[in-house]
Amino acid sequence: MSIVSKRLLSSAAPPLEAAAKKFYGDKVSYGSLSKAQKAFLDRVIRVDQAGELGANYIYFGQYTVLATKYPHLKPVLQHMWDQEIHHHDTFNKLQTQRRVRPSILTPLWKVGAFGIGVSTALIGKEAAMACTVAVETVIGGHYNQQLRILMNQYQDIPVYDEHGKEIAEPDMEIKDSPELTSLKDLISQFRDEELEHLDTAIEHDAEKAVPYMLLTEAIKLVCKGAIWTAERV
């Protein structure tokens, strides 16, 4: 039997089922998501995939220019880039598993992100770091916004016990399905790592870039526009 077939036949993913088992035996099942809830999850995965792709290519661009000029920055950039590659791979996997449409502008995001990475790095290493500050600020805020909605708007999904009876007041541990819990854990972990990159960039003289305000605000604007677009197309 091929790998694909195995994956199809074992569709349920059981990472947090152990917690549920402790209280309710073998089976806790969850009611359906509403159309709006599904549409939001669809958006989250598409925009995060596109965003991490962008981040990945920005570091690629910066690394291409800076790695030979400033050998002391090499390990710093490499570490941040590796983390972005991991984020990107994770969302790629989610996108295929959850059958979400990737952004149709993927080729544009690749070229644009690489361009931003290279051009800021060509201005100087401070400008490259200022670019990182801008990007990570927007991404951090955006992840927080997503978490807020995932916490607030997914509370009304019924939980059923093994006999198909609705549990009136489900325990905290089983209130959210493992699917939603793991997505929230993932996003908060990635947010923390993005904000770590922000700190790293400030430690490496981002604020000495000239003109710092103009550069960061312009890049923030571009990122917000890209987020708006990637959510939709």
């Binding site: 199809l8 349920a12 990737p102 080729p107």
Partner: protein
């Protein structure tokens, strides 16, 4: 008039976005509990005799011993879909869920095929096989789908089918190839179905061959995009190096 204009605005009702893992009831193709689908599913058994005709629905309502007035559940819909068109769409959705049941059966032949494109080919043939019992009536149903008024919803259903097929076959593309593959499978499916309508060979042998040929031709097309991208990147790096070397020489 305004009512008609409004009905042209594509609605996101049937669009299947986001495939849930722990909320399986979100992924249903047809909701078996609704009264509409009970009536329509029961009507399907009359199609081989009467075709995609509203008479099937009337007959089904009589079978189920519902009052005649229950017709209005189907006819008073906001988007103005005709009974024939609803019957056709419902038939398509039921075939799509049959395909899903087929691949979820561990004993099915599908699971022994290793190659992604051979699986696509197998799934298209499997889906076309579901046309056989009603093949004589199918062209009228298809004409319902291609009416301009209905086109957006028919295309949506077609793309849902090709998305299912490509997903079941094990597609893992994350970029533009995602779109290329689905569009390709949609066009192969439509071409094969039209070919099937006029196919008189025994057991639709020619149609099966046709599908195999078309899918083989399509094989690798998703990769073309990636190859072009790689080629572009290679040349860009080459260009930078060329400029650099000329610069050094002064």
């Amino acid at each position: 008039m305004f009512k008609q204009v409004r009905a042209y605005i594509p609605k996101a009702r049937g669009v299947r976005f986001y495939h849930s893992i722990d909320h399986p009831s979100s992924n249903l193709i047809v909701n078996p509990d609704s009264i509409e689908s009970t009536i329509l599913t029961n009507s399907l058994k009359h199609i081989p005799k009467y075709g995609f005709n509203s008479y099937c629905v009337t007959k089904s309502i009589q079978d189920l011993k519902y009052p005649d007035s229950i017709h209005s559940v189907l006819t008073s819909n906001a988007d103005g879909k005709s009974l024939e068109f609803q019957l056709m769409l419902h038939w398509l959705r039921i075939q799509r869920s049959k395909l899903h049941e087929h691949i979820m059966d561990p004993a099915s032949e599908f699971h022994s095929i290793e190659n992604e494109y051979e699986r696509v080919s197998y799934l298209i043939k499997q889906r076309l096989q579901y046309n056989e019992p009603i093949i004589k009536k199918l062209s009228y149903g298809l004409s319902q789908l291609s009416t301009p008024y209905n086109l957006s919803q028919s295309l949506e259903e077609l793309h849902n089918l090709s998305d299912d097929i490509v997903y079941y076959a094990g597609d893992e593309s994350n970029d533009f190839a995602w779109y290329t593959k689905r569009a390709g499978v949609s066009s192969i499916y439509v071409a094969s179905e039209l070919y099937m309508l006029s196919d008189t060979s025994e057991n639709f042998k020619n149609t099966k061959e046709f599908v195999d040929n078309r899918v083989r031709g399509f094989d690798g097309l998703g990769g073309v995009y990636n190859n072009i991208e790689q080629w572009g990147a290679f040349n860009a790096i080459g260009l930078v190096n060329l400029v650099k070397s000329q610069w050094m020489r002064g």
